[in-house]
Subunit: 155 residues, 2 copies
Amino acid sequence: MQQEIERKFLVAGEFKSHATSQVRITQGYLNSNPDRCVRVRIKGHQGFLTVKGRSNALGTSRLEWEQEIPLAEAQQLLNLCESGIIDKTRYLVPVAQHLFEVDEFYGDNQGLIVAELELSSEQEPYLTPEWLGEEVTGDIRYYNSQLMKIPYLQW
Amino acid sequence: MQQEIERKFLVAGEFKSHATSQVRITQGYLNSNPDRCVRVRIKGHQGFLTVKGRSNALGTSRLEWEQEIPLAEAQQLLNLCESGIIDKTRYLVPVAQHLFEVDEFYGDNQGLIVAELELSSEQEPYLTPEWLGEEVTGDIRYYNSQLMKIPYLQW
């Protein structure tokens, strides 16, 4: 259980040549309510169950609980999820001492690429790589739980 | 992950002298939707996270996934739950080769006592103890997720 400090950005340039790893992610929601979001995720060959609370007023900090679960159980739980499954590839892109997670979406969110940066405090400085675009931290349209309901191609 | 076959009954007599154990349970819901119910439970000194799917048409069988989690994490997750926390004592009452779970509710559900019997098939026979009352299997008013929203004292 931890407080998660996250900043989120659009991506406006070529980042893939800087990525050190990539993994396919499919995920659904047992509850997409941002007050008590419950997510089932398959990441490569691993399953995870995650609970997130609502963000603070700045949109940068929210309670997060996560546990790995067996892949077969994650697949069964995905079948119980709300309609609308998120499908994306996550790239890890190191920039100086930080690690950006860049998600390239498929399906109904094709064309959307979002970068996330996890920080240990809201004041922590970071370098801005040239491929980084507009900051969208706190904009709930970019929450995966919202992209499931109102996907990017419908914006 | 298993299919749960459960029959549920009201209690119409003295059962406590037959109980072999009892434990206090407090629980809340990260999602009380019966299609994808997500429950946080503190049972004595243990924490649990449970996901249940919708029952079949008979109301006797539903998908259930459960995992023990650290007590401190369960307490934090309870804080994220929907309003309305269930508080009850669970008695285990053996009857022949079966074990009845009898829940005596407190707070807004004071006065309600419900017995549950888990069976390995829908056809499995069982002995009916004299304290067992009317069968209410499949009646969603008695789901804990419903008792939270429309508690017994409001019926």
